[in-house]
Every structure is written in structure tokens, then in C-alpha cells.
């Protein structure tokens, strides 16, 4: 049983971790938590199934097209639901605008795609359902690619440093002449691609299902909440742990108790450390 727990735990954990990173990338660029995060993961699965499974395109072409579409959805999120409410951040209108957009995406997929979970084609050819099945290690691979890619981007490119500058101090970055708006749009495109990649890589595990969005929203948010907003390392560690714990509980006690346990742990952890386990100072109120 241990290999099965490890395989599916790491796979699910990788997905949660990536969704957490999607939240963080958007948050760093705009101080906004977006409900479209889960929808990006859902779209990755649905678009992948459409391109590769139905249109029969080669996996790599399907992946590129999926990422392009998800990047576009990311940009649309920024333009439609984030930019107009950015100057009223304190009213938290973004919660509503991104929720509205997320629902529209979800309903559109439900109507135009299907309300039933659809199969996702095998991409490489490692099947069998055992721990070596590609459906388990593709998400882990995608997560590793994301981590390495982000590390390279942030540490070794000028654009990446500009990202960091913006997330560190928006006003200072703008004062330095950084193109804040373009960088924000690029961040949303990047977030879209990471979300799409997570969905594409986990397609065989989660299936191409329109209702995956809220699920991914919630389970992707848990690592962010535990790891601390904007903290990618925290999100990835917490995400992987969440997946392992959840799957261990799933194999030992069964599905429902797992969800309840995750929810309970989430609430308790949040109440105990609202700023995440990695902490952030409280802001001045008066």
C-alpha cells in the first residue's frame, strides 16, 4: 500500500502545490487572490482532452496549445476582473469579480464541453494503474519543471527580477520605471500557463471535468494559506505534504473522512496562524 500512497500522494500534492504557485504568482503581481486559479487547472485538463483526445493532435502540440489558451485566460482575468478593481483593493471587490469570471468560465465549459467527467488520453504510454503509471508521475514532473523554471526565471533573468521587484514593493518598482502593467499581465499569463500545465499533467488523474475548478481552488488554496501568501517555497512544501497526508488518510480511512480531515486541519491551522506557518508581520490598521 505504501507505494500506492506515495505515488498518488506525491501526484496530488504536486497538483495542489502548483495551484498554490498559481495563486502566488497572481498575488505577487497584483495583491489579488483570484478564483480563476482552479478554473485554469480545470481548463488544462479539458483543453488537453479536447486537443489530444478528440482532435488527435500529438501530445506536445496539445500541450503547447493548452498552455497558450490558459495564458490567454490568465490575461483576460487580469484585464477583465483584476485591473478595473485594483484601485479599490481595500474593498476586496476582486473577490467578487474573479469569482464571477471563474463561474462564467466554469458554466461555459459545462455547456459547451460536457457536464460529465471525460477521459483524458494517455500521453506517453506508461499505463497499468500501478505506481509507475504516468498519471502519477506526470504531475510530479510538471511540478519539478515549474519549480526549476521559476527558479531560473527569478534568479537569472532580468524579467524575473523585475517580477520580484514588483512583488516586493509595487510603488518603488513603478518609481524605478518598471513597466508595472505589462509585468502584471505577463504574471497572469505565466500563472495561466502554470495552471494549464498542472491541469494538463493531471488530466489522467482528475479527468476532464468542468467541476474540477472549485475543488482545485480549495485544495490549491490550503498550501497557500499554510505556506504564507506569496511564499512559493512554502506553497510547494505544504502542497506536497497535503497530498501525502490526504492520500494516506484516503487509503486508510476512506474518502469522506479525508475531506473532513483536510478541512478541519485547514481551519485549525488558519485560526492558529492566520498569516501562514511561515508568517508575515501584521499591517498597521490605525
Amino acid at each position: 500500500m505504501l507505494p500506492a500512497i506515495l505515488a498518488s500522494g506525491l501526484a496530488m500534492g504536486s497538483i495542489y502545490a502548483m495551484m498554490g504557485v498559481v495563486y502566488n504568482v497572481m498575488f505577487s503581481a497584483s495583491r489579488v487572490m483570484s478564483f480563476t486559479t482552479g478554473q485554469l487547472g480545470m481548463l488544462g485538463g479539458v483543453l488537453g482532452a479536447a486537443f489530444v483526445g478528440i482532435l488527435g493532435l500529438p501530445a506536445i502540440v496539445g500541450l503547447v496549445l493548452t498552455l497558450a489558451c490558459c495564458a490567454l485566460v490568465g490575461i483576460v482575468t487580469e484585464v477583465v476582473a483584476v485591473r478595473p478593481v485594483l484601485d479599490k483593493l481595500d474593498q476586496h471587490l476582486y473577490v467578487l469579480s474573479t469569482l464571477a469570471l471563474a463561474l462564467m468560465i466554469q458554466q461555459f465549459v459545462a455547456i459547451e464541453w460536457s457536464t460529465e467527467p471525460q477521459p483524458f488520453p494517455q500521453l506517453i504510454g506508461f499505463g497499468g494503474g500501478g505506481p509507475t503509471d504516468e498519471k502519477f508521475w506526470l504531475p510530479v514532473l510538471a511540478c519539478a519543471v515549474t519549480v526549476v523554471g521559476l527558479e531560473l526565471l527569478f534568479r537569472h533573468t532580468l524579467v524575473g527580477r523585475a517580477f520580484l521587484a514588483i512583488s516586493e514593493d509595487n510603488y518603488a518598482a513603478r518609481a524605478l520605471g518598471l513597466p508595472e502593467r505589462r509585468l502584471r499581465m505577463a504574471s497572469y499569463a505565466l500563472a495561466g500557463m502554470i495552471g494549464g500545465l498542472a491541469g494538463f499533467a493531471s488530466g489522467q488523474l482528475l479527468l476532464a471535468f468542468f467541476a474540477n475548478g472549485p475543488y482545485l481552488n480549495f485544495y490549491g488554496f490550503v498550501p497557500v494559506a499554510l505556506g504564507g501568501l506569496g511564499n512559493n517555497r512554502g506553497a510547494i512544501i505544504s502542497g506536497l505534504l497535503l497530498g501525502l497526508v490526504q492520500q494516506a488518510a484516503h487509503f486508510t480511512f476512506g474518502g469522506v473522512f479525508t475531506s473532513v480531515a483536510v478541512f478541519a486541519v485547514f481551519i485549525v491551522a488558519l485560526l492558529a496562524a492566520p498569516q501562514g506557518l511561515f508568517g508575515q508581520p501584521k499591517q498597521r490598521r490605525v
Partner: protein, 599 residues
């Protein structure tokens, strides 16, 4: 000063005609609803029944979302719980079958407890975090309903409760739901008009001001979560009756979206707006068959449009009064002679004493060993360059900051650090450097918030508008009326606060502070942004307040004002006392002149 000016006029009773005018839309909706069964077919009655059941839930949820501003997006979970509770209890599959009333009462209790459970995280978590926890709760409730097959029938479901005659037919059941909806409308309207309703909106829009006014956010939120959970539980029972057979599929997240969006489209802080929105959203998909599939998409689109274009929702569109232009050349003329009517007894004569207070932010010592005494009946000026710790001192006194060492006392009582909501009880009121207004409420309501601690009625009494609640309202209204006349804003009492000019907001904050009939009044740069005339009037108002035994702490940059009205001045620099004494002593103090006043 002539006699008539010093006796307060009786508070203007809310004009009866005005109240009736406000009731017209509700009466019209009720009339249409009552006539409907006789002019339309059963199908329309069914839709109207559904709208009524939704409204039972939405009206109470409105207090959570619309008034308190808590983004509870997963409220369908409580509908689910109520539906299963009534169905299971009346069917007798788990326990012996129970009478219908008991089952519905149980649903209300289960709903209330679940509402509390879902709601409690709101005390610590904000906005998106809280929205996520309610979303998670909704997801899990559905999963449990699917998995707990012995009780819920799993995916197959169970039959809903059957109501006895005369509610066993479509008409009877409709009238029952309509009646409940009307009762819930009345109850939530009672709360909305009470100090609890104002407190909820204050928590939403000006939480810091609410705390300073002594409003307890936890107590208030617990009350509304219990109430709206109970209402959702009952609505769930009705919903199960209407469906006659329930399975987890009946409780899609779309329903939650409908509830939540109806409130926001209707407009936060309104009851009529969400009522209209609930009816329209329930009816919209029936308008044309193809829309059924797209209904949730349309709701979401509507929400997006509302958020981006009309943040006030339907209520703002219907608020014609706020579009009428205000008089251009209005001047705030305080009438301090009325203060005698507000301070009917002289406050107890003990001082606020700060002893050896130290507060560091990281490596910065914002306050570095401060001793300060604010005597009753005196105006105490606190001046110093920016960053010298003036506002920080105020925040320590008000309990927003916990000092590292040192104490704040009033008389013999040590004020507990970090508990701003308990300062009002001691009689400490304050204003803010940036006015903390509740923009969507009227000036009168903003001011009434300041007197919250004088209210005696409980939340339950407010729900039913029992005599004590009524007495509270009359008392608070009279006092707010008086406070507004004292600061000279009575002409603007009915105007939305966000339409006021900056200087008027400063005086409104003072009126709100006066509502407490305070022993101490802490003013944080009250003259900032005021014209010369206004500063003069403000100064004389502050002097009068102190003559009634109130200890005033005045943080200001206007040196003229400070030296004119203060009995005692303390100069801070880098968190330490640079000079302390009478205005004349301080004005000539060498260090002060070189460090601060210049010359």
C-alpha cells in the same frame, strides 16, 4: 445666550409619511404575491414558492453578506443540512419519526450551529480566506451527503417531509412559505434599523471606528451567524418539501451562487434590493427556456457587471434621494451651548495616566519611556514632528497597540492593552487622523454608532422589535440629534456620509465621539484640512467640551490652535518627552523652538 437655545428641542420623530413611503414597495410585492395564485397557473405558483423559500434564506444571509460584509459564498451547505435534517427526522429512518414541527425546529437548531461553525473563522480570517472556508464547507457537506448512505440515501436520495393539511396542496404551501418570507423580512428589517444593524455595517466599512465605539465584532457576528443559519435550516426543510425528493444533486453550488449574488446585485446594506434581485433571479430562467442552461452564467455575468459598473447594486439605483444635489455653500456652525444637555452629569474626576510606556516596532522605538497625564476638564495638547509618536500614543491609550512595558490607567483601573473594544466602557472616545466614515450610511446613523454601548436590548429583542429595542432607538436617535446640533451638522443628518466634505466629516467624527458622553476625548489632528474659520469654531467647541469636565487630548500640527486652547502641552520628539508644561512654558522652551517651532 437665550434660554430657548440652551434647551434641546425634542428629537424630530421620524416622519410617519416617510416611513409609510418606504413600506410601499414591500406592500406592493406582497400584494402581487397574494394575488398571484388567483390570476396565474400552478407553474407560476411553484416558481413563486421557490422564490419565497429562497428569500427565507437570503433575507437572513443578507445580514451576514450585505450588512456585515462577510463573503459567505457556500451557504447552500446550510440549506442542505436543513433539508436532510427535516427529511430524515420525519421519515424516522434513524430515530423514531418525529412531528413535523419538531423536525423543523431541529433543522433550525442544526442550521444555527452549522452557521456558527462556518462563520466562526470569520472572526480571524478576512475576505478571500473566509470565502474559501465557506466554499470548502459546502464541498464537504455534499460529499458527506453522498457518502453517508445509511442516513442520506447517498446518491439516490430520500423523500422530503410531507406537510399536513392545509399545507399539503400547492396553494396552502405557497401561502405558508410566503408568510414565513414576510416574517423574515420584518425581522431582518428590525435588525437592520437597530443598533445591531448599524454595528454590522460599521464592522464592514469602518471596523476600527466600530471597535472604538465599543461594538463587539465577535458577539455581533455570532448572533447573525446563528440567526441566518437557523433561517437557512428552515428554508432547507421547506425546500425539501417543495422538491418532495432530495438528493445531493439538488444542492448544487449554483444555488449558493444565486443566494450570494442576489444580495450583491440587490445592493449591500439594503433589504429591498436583494428582495427584488432574489425574485428576478429565481424568475429569470423561466423567462425563456434556453436561458435555463445559461442561468448561472448569466448570474455570474450580472455580478461582474454590477461589481465593475454599479457597486451599489439595485439599491443604489433606487436611491433617488442621494442624487439630489446638496446646498453648495454650507458652513458648519457648532452650538456648544447645547453641550449642557448632553453632559447632564459631570464625569468622574480621575485622570488617564501613562506610566513609563515603551513601544518598539522592530528596531524603532516609537515610544520611548513616556509618562503622560490627561486631567479631566483640561485640554492637553500633544505636539511634535512627524514620527515623534503622537498617534502611536493615542493608539496605546485606545488599546490598538500593546506597549512593551508600562501601563495605562484611568483612576485605579489599569486599562488592558490590546482591547480597543473595551475603551468605550471606560468613557474614552476618539477621532481619527483620516475620518473613519461608514460611507453608505447616513450621517445620523454614523453618529448613532458612537452610542452603541448605551443600548440595552439584546439581538433577540431587536429581531422582534420589543419595547426595550424601541426605547434604545428613541434614546440613541435623540442623543444623535443633539450631538449633530452641537457640532452644527443637523441639516445633513439624512445625507449619506460619503457625500460630505472633508471638514464636515471631521465634525461628524466629533459628534460620534460625543455620543459616548465621554470622560475623555482623544482628537487626532481634528483641524487638518479645515479652513481658518472652521479651526476657530473647532477650537471653541473643544474648549467648551473640556469645560464640561471632559479630559481632551489634542494631537495637532496647528501650533496656533494648540497654544490658544490648551491648558497643558506635551512636546514629543523621537518617542520621548521633549518639553512639558503650560503653553507659555513650552512656547519659550529652547529645545522646542529649535527642534520644532523654528525661529
Amino acid at each position: 445666550m437665550n434660554h430657548t437655545a440652551s434647551t434641546p428641542r425634542p428629537a424630530a420623530a421620524p416622519a410617519l409619511g416617510h416611513t409609510l413611503l418606504k413600506l410601499i414597495p414591500y406592500a406592493a410585492i406582497l400584494a402581487v404575491a397574494l394575488v398571484l395564485p388567483f390570476i396565474a397557473n400552478d407553474y407560476w405558483v411553484l416558481i413563486a414558492t421557490r422564490a419565497a423559500i429562497y428569500w427565507v434564506l437570503v433575507s437572513a444571509l443578507n445580514l451576514v453578506v450585505g450588512f456585515a460584509g462577510q463573503l459567505a459564498i457556500g451557504w447552500v451547505a446550510l440549506l442542505t443540512l436543513g433539508a436532510y435534517t427535516t427529511s430524515v427526522l420525519t421519515a424516522g429512518t434513524v430515530l423514531p419519526p418525529m412531528p413535523l414541527l419538531v423536525a423543523f425546529a431541529a433543522a433550525a437548531v442544526v442550521g444555527a450551529l452549522a452557521g456558527l461553525l462556518v462563520g466562526l473563522p470569520a472572526l480571524r480570517l478576512r475576505t478571500f480566506y473566509f470565502a474559501m472556508t465557506t466554499l470548502g464547507f459546502a464541498t464537504i457537506t455534499t460529499q458527506i451527503a453522498l457518502a453517508w448512505q445509511d442516513v442520506t440515501g447517498g446518491g439516490i436520495g430520500i423523500p422530503g417531509p410531507w406537510l399536513p393539511s392545509p399545507f399539503d396542496n400547492a396553494l396552502g404551501f405557497y401561502l405558508l412559505c410566503l408568510g414565513l418570507a414576510a416574517v423574515l423580512t420584518w425581522m431582518t428589517a428590525n435588525v437592520a434599523r437597530s443598533r445591531f444593524g448599524r454595528g454590522l455595517v460599521a464592522i464592514r466599512d469602518a471596523e476600527v471606528a466600530a471597535e472604538v465605539s465599543g461594538i463587539s465584532k465577535p458577539a455581533l457576528l455570532v448572533a447573525v451567524f446563528l440567526f441566518s443559519g437557523a433561517a437557512a435550516g428552515v428554508a432547507g426543510g421547506l425546500f425539501a418539501t417543495l422538491q418532495s425528493y432530495i438528493s445531493p444533486e439538488a444542492f448544487t453550488f449554483d444555488l449558493s451562487v444565486l443566494f450570494f449574488i442576489a444580495i450583491l446585485i440587490g445592493g449591500r446594506g439594503s433589504i429591498l434590493g436583494p428582495l427584488i434581485a432574489t425574485i428576478v433571479l429565481t424568475w429569470l430562467p423561466e423567462f425563456a427556456a434556453p436561458l435555463v442552461v445559461w442561468s448561472t452564467f448569466l448570474y455570474a455575468l450580472l455580478l461582474l457587471v454590477i461589481v465593475l459598473a454599479v457597486p451599489g447594486g439595485i439599491a443604489a439605483m433606487l436611491d433617488f434621494g442621494s442624487r439630489r444635489p446638496l446646498a453648495r455653500d454650507r458652513a458648519v456652525v457648532p452650538r456648544e451651548e447645547l453641550l449642557g444637555a448632553l453632559f447632564t452629569e459631570r464625569p468622574a474626576s480621575s485622570a488617564i495616566v501613562l506610566k513609563d510606556v515603551v513601544l518598539s516596532f522592530g528596531a524603532v522605538r516609537a515610544i520611548d519611556g513616556l509618562d503622560l497625564t490627561i486631567d479631566p476638564g483640561e485640554v492637553h495638547g500633544l505636539i511634535g514632528p512627524n514620527g515623534s509618536g503622537k498617534t502611536t500614543t493615542l493608539n496605546v491609550i485606545c488599546g490598538f497597540y500593546k506597549p512593551d512595558t508600562g501601563t495605562v490607567r484611568v483612576g485605579d483601573d489599569v486599562l488592558k492593552p490590546g482591547e480597543p473594544q473595551h475603551r468605550a466602557e471606560v468613557g474614552i472616545a476618539r477621532t481619527f487622523q483620516t475620518p473613519r466614515l461608514i460611507g453608505e450610511s447616513t450621517v445620523l446613523e454614523n453618529v448613532m454608532v458612537g452610542g452603541d454601548t448605551s443600548g440595552r436590548a439584546t439581538f433577540a429583542e431587536a429581531l422582534l422589535n420589543l419595547p426595550r429595542n424601541h426605547a434604545d432607538e428613541v434614546m440613541l436617535r435623540e442623543r444623535a440629534d443633539l450631538a449633530l446640533r452641537i457640532v452644527g451638522l443637523e441639516a445633513l443628518a439624512g445625507v449619506r456620509a460619503d457625500r460630505l466634505q472633508h471638514s464636515e466629516l471631521r465634525f461628524m467624527e466629533i459628534a460620534r465621539a460625543l455620543m459616548l458622553q465621554p470622560r475623555f476625548l482623544l482628537l487626532d489632528e481634528p483641524a487638518a484640512g479645515l479652513s481658518g474659520d472652521e479651526i476657530a469654531r473647532l477650537g471653541s467647541l473643544i474648549e467648551s467640551v473640556s469645560r464640561h469636565g471632559v479630559g481632551v487630548l489634542l494631537v495637532e500640527h496647528h501650533a496656533d490652535l494648540i497654544f490658544k486652547i490648551c491648558h497643558h502641552v506635551t512636546v514629543l520628539d523621537l518617542g520621548r518627552v521633549l518639553a512639558d508644561g503650560t503653553p507659555d512654558e513650552v512656547r519659550t522652551h529652547e529645545d522646542v523652538v529649535s527642534a520644532y517651532l523654528g525661529g
